[in-house]
């Protein structure tokens, strides 16, 4: 395949996966810092950036040993997976043992996965607490997809565009961040996971991110071409 096609397809896939991943994370924002909303108490960008960075670290380490696209991308996915898993677990520990609340979803009455009742455990006037089971699983899926996308982008920049490793890492992060933020604007603050009503807005973010990633992919190819890295 042509390098331009490979680069653009990988960057496009990475951007769309980033957007999808952001929609699956349990983002609590400021209300969660007071344990009055479900999710981890920080913004979408911080969570996804942290997860993507961890993914890029593992992907970059694996990329020094192998040039198998699947292996590098999956190692990136595992890196962000680990980061999100630890973050959500520790957030839950703080919520349960520090703030003294029960992890409970505020958007659904019954947990769609475990079938546990949620409504009775929710404090009145609050929008859920902590990271309940369904949000935890949703967040893990989101981190897996986001990390896979970020590492895929890194691999494309490293191997197909012949970027130097640091340059590939920073450029991949730049494109990833732009997509994650556009997706975050679509969510508009807090989301619990795939069971949240806001998840239905996903196609709009996918469309926007696809256009932005397409342009970014073309620009990456232009850089590689004009900088004399390919062809």
């Amino acid at each position: 395949m042509d390098p331009i096609l490979l680069i653009v397809v990988c960057v496009l896939a990475g951007g769309v996966l980033a957007s999808l991943g952001v929609h699956l994370l349990p983002v609590g924002g400021a209300p969660a810092a007071m344990a009055t909303a479900t999710g981890v108490a920080t913004g979408t960008v911080m969570l996804m950036l942290g997860a993507a960075m961890c993914g890029l670290f593992t992907a970059a380490s694996v990329a020094t040993y192998t040039s198998n696209i699947l292996l590098v991308s999956l190692s990136g996915a595992v890196g962000s997976w680990l980061m999100m898993g630890v973050t959500m677990l520790l957030a839950n520990l703080l919520y349960v043992f520090g703030a003294g609340v029960v992890p409970v979803s505020g958007r659904v009455d019954v947990d769609p996965i475990t079938g546990q009742s949620q409504k009775e455990y929710k404090t009145p006037q609050c929008d859920g607490h902590g990271v309940p089971n369904v949000s935890y699983i949703s967040g893990m899926i989101g981190a897996l997809l986001g990390g896979f996308g970020g590492a895929l982008m890194y691999f494309a920049l490293l191997e197909y565009a012949n970027f130097e490793p640091t340059m590939a890492g920073v450029a991949a992060m730049a494109i990833f961040v732009a997509n994650a933020i556009i997706a975050a604007y679509n969510i508009g603050g807090t989301i619990e996971g795939f069971h949240d009503p806001k998840f239905k807005r996903l196609p709009k973010a996918i469309l926007t991110c696809a256009i932005i990633s397409l342009l970014s992919g073309v620009l990456v190819w232009v850089v590689a071409n004009m900088g004399g890295l390919i062809g």
């Binding site: 979408t44 960008v45 920073v170 450029a171 709009k204 932005i212 620009l219 590689a224 004399g228």
Partner: protein, 283 residues
């Protein structure tokens, strides 16, 4: 996580430190100064640093303008977006640095700026369109375009400071592959999002917020100056030892002047400042 709480009426107070140009004037002035400095990579680091201050100031002003309506994800997101676009645009810029050269002027780098202006405009239109994301923020299209341009100019100028040139291979070798780009990435986004993120509130005043951006630029120059002086290959040339040391001195002066000025302004404009002392222990 809403910010600001609805449309804010622009109200300039006359007393205290004021910054004359309004948003549009500051944008035009900063863009012209930064563009003139960025296309001449042979200038001393301190002059380029002035360009960085103006580029980041413009970016910060755009962040303030767009995020006072409440983005829903916090102020930092749009600053990070600007730096993300900036890195990509700067890479495009240095890839085109070799063409269109007229003696010491390299207008080719501006292709990166134009590319990012287009990407920023498209993302702004898509984000603000009722049928797509529908953020309903007045002027978001212009804001995102300005952020793309400001971020790209700031990154290009920093590449130029550290590498002493905008040649693709030289920049990759001296400013990117050794990881200094990470410092630039983080401190540029800090200079754009931190001022408004820290100062926002009912009594936020534009001139006071702008001072914080210049102060963070000073910190950025201290770090870049240390880096330039430590990795310099010549003594007097561009990106040489003298350039690095003068950049450290410039950064220190900028940081101290604006830090003191900010604290004094904040003290003066506050209703009162009282010391609470240490937490009292109950016996």
């Amino acid at each position: 996580m809403t910010v600001g709480g609805g449309p804010v009426v622009e109200e300039e107070k006359t007393e205290g430190f004021s910054f004359p140009p309004d948003v549009t004037q500051l944008g035009i002035i900063s863009a012209i100064i930064a563009i003139v400095i960025v296309i001449i990579p042979g200038l001393p680091a301190v002059v380029k640093a002035v360009g960085v201050i103006f580029a980041l100031l413009w970016g910060m002003d755009s962040v303030r303008k767009t995020s006072k309506y409440g983005l829903g994800t916090g102020v930092p997101s749009i600053g990070v977006l600007a730096t993300g676009y900036g890195v990509l645009g700067a890479l495009v810029g240095i890839a085109f640095a070799g063409i269109l050269n007229v003696s010491i002027v390299q207008p080719g780098v501006l292709i990166g700026v134009i590319a990012m202006a287009i990407v920023g405009l498209i993302s702004g239109v898509l984000s603000n369109n009722e049928k797509i994301i529908g953020m309903k923020i007045p002027g978001l299209e212009r804001g995102m375009m300005e952020l793309g341009i400001a971020g790209t100019l700031a990154m290009l100028l920093q590449f130029s400071i550290v590498a002493g040139s905008l040649d693709f291979n030289l920049v990759v070798e001296r400013a990117i592959s050794n990881g200094v780009i990470a410092v630039m990435f983080v401190l540029s986004m800090m200079a754009m999002f931190h001022p408004y993120n820290a100062c926002l509130g009912p009594d936020e005043r534009r001139p006071r917020t702008l001072m914080v951006s210049i102060e963070i630029s000073g910190l950025l120059f201290i770090i870049l100056g240390i880096f330039v002086a430590a990795t310099a290959v010549s003594t007097w040339g561009v990106a040489g030892v003298v350039d690095g040391i003068s950049l450290i001195v410039f950064g220190l002066i900028v940081w101290i002047v604006f830090f003191v000025k900010f604290i004094k302004t904040a003290m003066r404009e506050a209703h009162s400042t009282v010391g609470t002392g240490l937490i009292k222990t109950i016996e």
